[in-house]
């Protein structure tokens, strides 16, 4: 079995039979392999997907593979691209993610770009806040932005629901439970 940590990328090509990803049947076949791989790594929360060796994908293949796995695990696990440079491929991943309403991130060092649906106008500021920090709490954003904690919590919950962020429950210093939100990187 391949070893996996959050630092080693998921090499999509290893799950494909060809270096071109064509059509839904091939996508579904690849999805099944990725699913099995993800399930065999229960401790890993974020999978960085590398497209190294993947020459081309069409939108149908994109929709059935990484977009579908991200949609399936939304709110539980996150998937992002480690090296999505090809413009043509990016258009196709974007179209597939858009259609499925499943955002994915690609990272250029510290700079994120969203593939697929964009956040709503009302949550952009909260997402921007979260993307430049390893983890955030709604209260921190509320303090910085001058909004109420309830309002900040609503925004982060919405971003989590829509697949832009992940979250974990932690014991708050005050004694209750609080949510800690994490970017998908």
């Amino acid at each position: 079995m391949k070893r996996m940590s959050e630092n080693s990328p998921l090499l999509l090509r290893e799950f494909m039979t060809e270096d071109d990803g064509w059509g839904r049947p091939a996508g579904r076949e690849t999805f099944a392999k990725i699913l099995s791989f993800v399930e065999s790594h229960p401790g890993v929360v974020i999978f960085r997907v590398s497209l190294k060796g993947v020459r081309r994908v069409d939108i149908s293949f994109a929709a059935e593979t990484i977009v579908e796995i991200a949609r399936k695990y939304r709110t539980f696990k996150g998937f992002c691209f480690a090296d999505l440079e090809d413009t043509d491929q990016q258009e196709n991943w974007n179209a597939a993610a858009d259609r499925a309403k499943q955002p994915l991130f690609k990272w250029h060092g510290e700079l994120p770009a969203i593939i697929g649906p964009q956040p709503s106008q009302g949550t952009v500021d909260a997402l921007q806040f979260a993307l430049v920090r390893p983890e955030v709490r709604a209260a921190e954003f509320a303090t910085v932005s001058g909004t109420s904690i309830t309002n900040a919590s609503t925004k982060f919950k919405q971003l989590w629901d829509q697949g832009f962020l992940l979250r974990t429950e932690r014991n708050a210093e005050s004694g209750g439970v609080e949510f800690v939100y994490r970017r998908i990187r």
């Binding site: 071109d20 069409d58 939108i59 259609r99």
Partner: protein, 304 residues
Amino acid sequence: MDEILVQLPTGWINASKFEDLLRFGQSPHEGHCSSVRFRFPIGCQLMTDAIVRLLSMCNQLDYCVKRVILDFEDGEGGVAGYLNRIGFFDCLAPQIEVSPGRPATWASQIFRGQNRGVVEIERIDRHHRDQTVLDRLSDAISVACAGREDVKDLTNSAWMIFAELIDNVFSHSETPLDGFAALQVYRGGNCLKVTVSDSGRGMLETLRPALAADAPQLAKLPDIELLVEVFRQGLSRHGGSRGCGLKGCADKAIKFRAELDVRLPSVRVLLVPGRNGYSPNKAYCYSHLPLVWGTHVCFTIELD
């Protein structure tokens, strides 16, 4: 009526001219004819969108046990020689008669992939997904357009268009006959034609029943408007998360200001790109056309 004659004119014939011939003549599929003759005069030249449509239609008529005759007035010296070189006769049902005779050698197998600007016809075998078909078609574009700065973008876009259209043939057409994919780069006309044709039920036939349940407002649209929406917003019989493939094709083609020609069993839409992509008010529509089974899609991409 025993025989229908489809008399082709001289000069260049594209899909539109071919459709006009069908529209203003007797319908080969309908009526009681037992034989259909296509006559090609000296000086007749066919473009790839017309060739693939003709090929599908001939095989369909043959499947309906009609006698089909292709009558080439200048023998192999004219358009028949050209059709031979591009693989037309390799794909033609064996029972179809060719006058003065089928070419003796399959020139397409000798020339395949070697000529810049040449058309390639690829059979889409409904029993086998051949990934190399996509490579051959896109490689032909990269060779023919090697001098262009945007050759990579063009090749990748064409690959995507073929990938989605051919995938659509496998997924939706429920075709009893093989489909065909073809391309041709016209150096003189500075355009690239990318065409995929199948002999199935036609995409709206499979889409409408699903829409009736999921999106009744769309299901009420006339064929032509619904067809535009398939390429504009992406619709699928499998629901909202699917159907992005054909929209994706259109988005790629729009980058190159491509015209889109879609022929279904009885309607045809020719979409011209506008400021916001393809739209119903930039569509040339034809309804009540003579029956041709299947879905026939052609993108004409301007290269300059």
